[in-house]
């Protein structure tokens, strides 16, 4: 699937991501700024925070309880589109997904 990370400064990074890989891991592999994934996808750090593009929000869905709790400690304040990208797993039906980066 193709995913695009849009930075606050207007630049963007796009990459092909294999199904089954988390979008946190994909961001690190593609040197996407601001995503450090410090806890390795274990829901303990909130350093892979993204805003899901409004067009994709419904398809991606809301966070589960534990993720919802961690979204309270993100560096940039959460919105209704906030997700931790370690919990979004690449699959073909997400092809074209757009994620916005916190500043």
């Amino acid at each position: 699937m193709k995913v695009t990370w849009k930075n606050a400064d207007g630049t963007s990074i796009s990459a092909e991501v294999a199904p089954g890989v988390s979008l946190m891991e994909a961001a690190i592999a593609n040197n996407v700024p601001h995503i450090t994934g410090d806890c390795g996808g274990n829901l303990a750090c909130a350093t892979c925070h993204v805003f899901v593009d409004a067009d994709w929000s419904e398809k991606i869905g809301p966070p589960e309880d534990m993720e919802d709790g961690m979204l309270d400690i993100t560096a940039v304040e959460r919105t209704q589109h906030s997700r931790l990208s370690c919990q979004i797993i690449a699959s073909e039906d997400l092809d074209g997904l757009v994620l916005h980066m916190p500043a």
């Binding site: 450090t36 806890c39 829901l43 303990a44 534990m66 400690i73």
Partner: protein, 419 residues
């Protein structure tokens, strides 16, 4: 250029505290990374264990806490189950228990909350540095590095100033419990098992328990309801609150971990400035390095040399089999010098980016809770130091802690001129 060249012969006993008296035996770890990345390591004080020394392996294994558990101890030393239960903090738990506790304390140490302390940290740094730099020769660990984390912890926890030196002393006794300069109960030379049920196998743990309990009572009596401690005592989303036992263990952890690690990051950074003179110049002239400098200093320092896990199932790796129940040690100090993960790993490069160092235990659920505070303290301390310095050089040999666990320069004589 390397800041200092490791002097071990490549075959040091990495379990022996004495092997760390001249710093981490990096030649030995370099050999292990190259020749035997999953090394069965004999240990004279207990059961042998697997040493994991490559950056990529540590990251991959740390992300699998269900297979490599924290709930049977996180230090090299073996513990009975009874000792484990009595001494553990939330560092020594797995999901979901670990997350339940972590959620209660995470907010207080999150990036945005910690960012609110920037002015307080800067003011403290200025006070500490003005005092330290009033003379031209001093021990930088004692007069700079040891001061900031202690005073800052006191500030954010709302502790009385007069208690701080005592807390630092107890924190040192807990963590540096293998160095006779810091405790009378040197762990590997102890002849008593009197303290085996106390945090860190140390009488200081018991004293901190009592202090934390009194502190809670005092705050409750005074009706104090602000500050980090109170944030931690608030009920979580599910309505549960932190238990007395969790609080006391957490308090011990704060005093021990909060003091030591940032101190030794600062000390290692000052040591690097003495040996790489261009660092001071970069700090003074290149504002852009501050986005990356703190993390590089923390990589360079690696104050937590290792943490341990225990395998919960058999795992095949590098042609060997880790058996369920085997101890596995992630050598962060080795991962942070891994040539395949870092260009010129033995050089301090303040603009290193990306810098996927492992000093905070990155890659796993136990990633350092205090990392935002540590980064901010280190950054601001060096900003304020560079502003005031004309030059800095070593004024004598520095001395490392006697510890295979805490990587720290305990004596760092320096000579300075003011800007």
């Amino acid at each position: 250029m390397t800041v200092w060249a490791p002097t071990d012969n490549g075959h040091a006993d990495i379990t022996s505290h004495d092997s760390y008296l001249d710093g981490v035996p990096h030649n030995t770890f370099a050999r292990l990374r190259q020749d035997d990345p999953l090394h069965w390591t004999e240990y004279s004080q207990g059961k042998a264990f697997w040493s994991v020394t490559r950056h990529a392996d540590i990251l991959a294994m740390n992300a699998k806490p269900a297979i490599f558990s924290s709930a049977q101890g996180i230090r090299m030393e073996d513990q009975t189950y009874e000792e484990y239960l009595a001494r553990r903090t939330f560092q020594e738990t797995d999901a979901p228990e670990h997350m339940m506790t972590r959620m209660k304390v995470a907010k207080a140490f999150s990036g945005p909350v910690i960012a609110g302390f920037e002015d307080a940290i800067r003011q403290l740094c200025a006070e500490i540095l003005e005092e330290a730099l009033s003379v031209s020769e001093f021990d930088a660990t004692k007069t700079i590095a040891r001061q900031l984390p202690m005073r800052m912890l006191g500030r954010i926890l709302g502790l009385p100033d007069e208690d701080l030196p005592w807390l630092v002393e107890k924190g040192d006794a807990l963590i540096a419990n293998t160095d006779p300069d810091f405790t009378t109960h040197v762990l590997d030379k102890m002849t008593t098992d009197e303290f085996r049920m106390m945090p860190f196998n140390s009488p200081a743990g018991a004293e901190l328990y009592v202090y934390a309990k009194d502190l809670m009572a005092r705050k409750a009596a005074a009706g104090e309801n602000n500050g980090v401690l109170n944030m931690i005592l608030q009920p979580g989303k599910d309505g549960s609150t932190i238990t007395d036992e969790e609080f006391r263990n957490f308090f011990c952890l704060l005093v021990a971990a909060g003091n030591d690690t940032t101190r030794y990051s600062i000390a290692a950074g000052i040591q690097a400035m003495c040996h790489q003179p261009e660092l001071l110049e970069q700090m003074r002239s290149d504002g852009s390095i501050w986005e990356t400098a703190g993390d590089e200093i923390i990589r360079w320092a690696t104050p937590a040399i290792y943490f341990r896990r225990t395998a919960t199932e058999d795992v095949e790796m590098h042609g060997k089999t880790i058996r369920a129940g085997d101890k596995v040690i992630y050598w962060f100090a080795s991962g942070n010098r891994d040539e395949t993960a870092f260009e010129t790993p033995f050089k301090v490069d303040l603009s290193r980016k990306p810098n996927r160092h492992l000093s905070f235990g990155q890659g796993g659920p136990h990633v350092c809770l205090g990392m935002w505070l540590a980064r901010l303290e280190v950054k601001i301390l060096f900003q304020e130091l560079a502003k005031r310095l004309g030059s800095i050089e070593a004024a004598g040999p520095h001395k490392f802690l006697r510890s295979n666990f805490v990587g720290g320069i305990k004596e760092l004589p320096v000579r300075v001129t003011r800007n």
